[in-house]
Amino acid sequence: MTRRVVITGVGVTAPGSPGVKNFWDLLTAGRTATRRISFFDPSPFRSQVAAEVDFDAELHGLSPQEIRRMDRAAQFAVVTAREAIADSGLEFEALDPSRIGVTIGSAVGATMGLDQEYRTVSDGGRLELVDHNYAVPHLYNYMVPSSFATEVAWASGAEGPSTVVSTGCTSGLDAIGYAADVIREGSADVMVAGATDAPISPITVACFDAIKATTPRNDDPEHASRPFDASRNGFVMGEGAAVFVLEELESARQRGAKVYAEVAGYATRSNAFHMTGLRPDGKEMAEAIRVALAEARLNPEDIDYINAHGSGTKQNDRHETAAFKRSLGEHAYRTPVSSIKSMVGHSLGAIGSIEVAASVLAMQHDVVPPTANLHNPDPECDLDYVPLVARDWKTDAVLSVGSGFGGFQSAVVLANPDRSAR
């Protein structure tokens, strides 16, 4: 009998105010958390908007030493994991620590810390032979983002298989798929899994400027993220984390846990095409969707809602629209599709997990979040993108997809574990 994996705890630190409740309130109200960058003066840059988290690490229970040794992304991960663990109601202290593992997704690791520290040890870029006497003692933890997994393991008491998954902008989906596979094969019974990124730093802004991937709509930050709209012209960078408690279904049922959803299917494929480009046909994403549905033993018609990658670049929006049609056929036209990046921006590796959080909350509340700022859809994007207003919608099975630099295309299928199998 195959072991099945369910989500029993959710934590979210998303742009705006942290916490699951604030996140869901923002999404269902169709409000946006995008604004002019406040972390540094963005005026030298082409794109000056981002979706920032109003985050006070001390207020969220981190000690001064934890704050000092952790990059912002690690801080997000730990605080968010604690919310998920508390939400699960699972007594972690009573479990065998070797049966608990950790999988944290992150595309760019401690970019913010590395950017700041490089500036210091190079004395503002002046020194080629950077000066080790000015290095902070925890610089190695910035260099190697598996320090995020260590921090979450320490926060949760996990001693089982623990790692960071770093597949660019699909990291947040791939981390959940990875963790689910670890439970299924029997290497762990509980996984604390999710993703984090805090990329809003000059180096990241500059590199996306260089390829014009981010929007220059600086005069209207609140409406700058416009997936599927004809006027969209790039994504808005975000930050944040979402972390889940994943458990084997039977043990979750035995303890009477609140079950949000089963991680029913997962697959990832690569386009082997271009590090940043996408072919318009969406073929590899469609294949990932097909395999994830097969693993979930669901038909295309069983999908009630699609949580899109919806980054707000022309090539992405057309690519995934094609992928949905290719994999779901006529059902793609009948299924609500939305992009929460319109409200919380694109937090690179974290967003896949944040979107899974939105998906399981949609299942819990039978409400589908909208695509904000969508007034005039691109004529080539002709699906139902749930413009502007959240929708009451019976949601038992969700498809969440992601697409990333490096050519990664991933799909996760979340479903009510009591659904009837095909």
């Binding site: 030298p44 490089y118 290095a135 598996s146 623990s162 790692t163 000059p202 180096i203 630099f405 490096g406």
Partner: protein, 403 residues
Amino acid sequence: MTEVVVTGLGIAAPTGLGLDAYWANTLAGVSGLGRVTRFDPSNYPARLAGEIRDFAAEEVLPSRLLPQTDRMTRIALVAADWAFADAGVVPADLPEYDVGVITASHSGGFEFGQNELRALWSKGGQYVSAYQSFAWFYAVNSGQISIRNGLRGPSSVVVTDQAGGLDALAQARRQIRKGTSMVLAGAVDASICPWGWVAQLTSGRLSERDDPARAYLPFDDRAAGHVPGEGGALLVLENAEHARARGARVYGVVAGHASTVDPAPGRDRAPTLQKAIDHALADAGAVPDEIDVVFADAAAVPELDRAEAEAITKVFGPRGVPVTAPKTGTGRLYSGAAPLDLAAALLAIRDGVLPPTVHTTLSERYELDLVTGAPRRADVRSALVVARGQGGFNSAMVVRAPR
């Protein structure tokens, strides 16, 4: 359950580019350690490294790839080519989604990142390369290898400090068990640049000695840190049925794996390396007596050497199994180290010989049967590879001779 075998090895190490050069030098006890040449190390407390000295990317890669790749990616692309050639496959000839690539990374394209950070802070944001958006990030090797070889199957990247290489191989085994025929897996790392050096120094684990023969001495009374190196190995993992059907030469079977993370300091709980070894053996369905050699992590930090020696002694008994650490000749290759050890273990199985641990004189305080000096003849049917990472990561993998 689906058996997963290794059918190709792509090796790039300071002691040799390519399988044959690496293995001949490793058996001969050649050391690849020396004073850093890629920058002037005079003002840093650590000055030795295991550098790859004879790699000319422009001779083996298309020129359009050079401006968009870090050194580690260039080496990885070439190691991938060698691995597929060694396996006797052209991946593009296989069905479209049949081949994936799963690598581990330690610190991404750190040198590329260094150069762009310098451009940003010394000149301004408009001088940052368009390639910075992907050339430095942790996923870059998998992405570039996928594109160069047309690999559309499941691909991924794991980061588990210096234990990640084994975790990547384990994830490749998972994907093959789920139905993919072939996955290229392993890791190549290279971050020998001033910015990488300064970040490495803060780990507190670098040797500050200047004599290459006395700098990296695991299990030795003189142990005082390690020498960093660059390189690694990429391996072709394959469904055993698939390999058999195409008449492939098989190096060995990926028989077992487990990984753990140590408890937080001050928790009053035991470290978990022994558990990783026990679980890997159990996963392989093996008892300790069946293991013919252990490739040790060999940190060369006294406290870590003690922990590893204790774990090995507890599982196998005092001097109960030959132990070796050929990485003493290459330096620690970060996530590339463990896949290279796994390749060496498979070559030990092939040739019936255990490569030596160079430079080290075994301390009397460890009850290990450490292979030093000359290589040792042995009938090797099964090998255990151990890898550890900063932050408490432990990973262990068992490989077996082909049937």
